[in-house]
């Protein structure tokens, strides 16, 4: 009986400990976003992605519909190519949708906002979003304002 109590207590301890690891991995570090298997990929080209990073969210009307998977520089036209993984349930993004890089708050993290257009055709896996708006880089903006003041 004594040994049984001991085994139960130690077993519970081990389970609690490993459960804590799982919570850290999934809940705290957001690891699960990599395993979102039910998704399709879209690409979008931007002249400047600002501070956008892989893992940032893609949202439409404020609702998160996907994540930024990779960002790389195109060697031909030197534009940033952003690959998005969009939730498979959101299969109604029209081909004239607009992808814009926006900032949550003034200095917050950057994300991609997708405005859905009115076309009949929808985007499917591997398509590219043609209409894009690059990130507003605060420093550039301040630079322009300063330049216009000094004229």
């Amino acid at each position: 009986m004594q040994a049984k109590h001991l085994e139960i207590a130690v077993g519970l301890f081990l389970v609690v400990g490993f459960f804590a690891f799982v919570v850290i991995a999934i809940q705290v570090s957001g690891l699960n976003r990599d395993y979102n298997s039910d998704s399709y990929q879209l690409t979008a080209r931007f002249s400047n992605v600002g501070g956008l990073q892989a893992g940032a969210k893609a949202s439409s009307a404020g609702v998160t519909i996907g994540r930024v998977k990779t960002i790389h520089l195109d060697s031909d036209d030197y534009e940033a190519v952003v690959t998005l993984a969009i939730d498979a349930r959101v299969d109604f993004l029209t081909i004239d949708s607009i992808a814009a890089i926006q900032t949550a708050g003034v200095l917050g993290e950057q994300y991609i906002s997708i405005s859905i257009g009115g076309d009949e055709e929808v985007l499917v896996d591997g398509d590219e979003i043609e209409d894009t708006a690059s990130a507003i880089v605060l420093e550039e903006l301040i630079g322009k304002v300063m330049a216009s003041f000094s004229k």
Binding site: A20, I24, Q27, S29, E109
Partner: protein
């Protein structure tokens, strides 16, 4: 001349004890709980080292998380960046406070008990009797305790961090009115699994080895008197706390330094 002789004597003695402790660690590391009997020994030590430390670790984690939530909120709200509270709490806990504070608590709660127990076994000549009847006390007494420490420490640190994060949520979200979604989403986008979480786990593993190693060695090497056991127990807590803090700096410099 006496001064130099004293220095040399100390140095030789220190090297000798380092060698002895390395031998203890080496012998114990080769001991694996493969048979039923070894498994039972390990189980008992896991209970005493791990399960009995769980409560103090959980309560400390909760309070540290709550304090981080309060302090972080106050400081961040000056810059209008309260949303970053989640990432501040989670990064502090996962990278630093989880492993370090757990190791300090572990040294006080489990390390001191290990030293006192083994020291008393030595003082009452139980270890010598074991050798007499052909049982290696390194295997029977020391190894299960070391392994229990190695296994328990990372688990305890993980529990500490998780409860701390929820403690931060309790204060930041439920008490001070931060948005629940931004607390978690900022945290998830800021905390990287490999850079932060895995490094935190490595830290807690290293600290677990350090603390139990020091505790077991101090007990095994205690002067076999009541006062000697007291001294060794104090040394365990002092040495392992210093070792944890020192090694933490080194590990942090290596992991996050660049």
């Amino acid at each position: 001349m006496d001064f130099f002789q004293q220095q040399g004597k100390n140095a030789i003695e220190n090297m000798r004890s380092l060698g002895r402790s390395a031998l203890i660690l080496w012998h114990a590391a080769l001991w694996l709980p493969v048979s039923v009997e070894r498994y039972r020994l390990l189980l008992r030590q896991l209970y005493r080292v791990g399960v009995l430390s769980l409560l103090i670790v959980a309560v400390s984690g909760l309070f540290i998380g709550m304090v981080l939530g309060l302090q972080g909120f106050n400081t961040l709200s000056r810059f209008g960046a309260e949303q970053a509270l989640g990432q501040m709490v989670a990064l502090s806990l996962v990278r630093e406070l989880g492993p370090v504070v757990t190791a300090l608590l572990f040294a006080g709660r489990a390390g001191s008990a290990l030293t006192a127990e083994i020291g008393l076994m030595k003082a009452t000549e139980q270890l010598a009797s074991m050798e007499m009847i052909g049982i290696d006390p390194l295997h029977r007494v020391v190894a299960p305790r070391l392994w229990a420490g190695f296994i328990s420490m990372p688990l305890l640190a993980a529990v500490f961090s998780v409860i701390g994060v929820y403690g931060g949520q309790l204060v930041g979200v439920n008490l001070l009115g931060l948005d629940h979604g931004s607390y978690w989403s900022n945290m998830q986008s800021a905390v990287d699994f490999y850079d932060d979480v895995v490094n935190g786990i490595i830290k807690s593993l290293v600290f677990g080895v350090l603390v139990t190693w020091i505790a077991v060695y101090q007990g095994y090497n205690a002067r076999p008197t009541a006062a000697g056991i007291g001294e060794s127990t104090t040394r365990t807590v002092v040495f392992s706390s210093l070792a944890v803090l020192g090694v933490d700096f080194l590990l942090t410099a290596v992991m996050f330094g660049d």
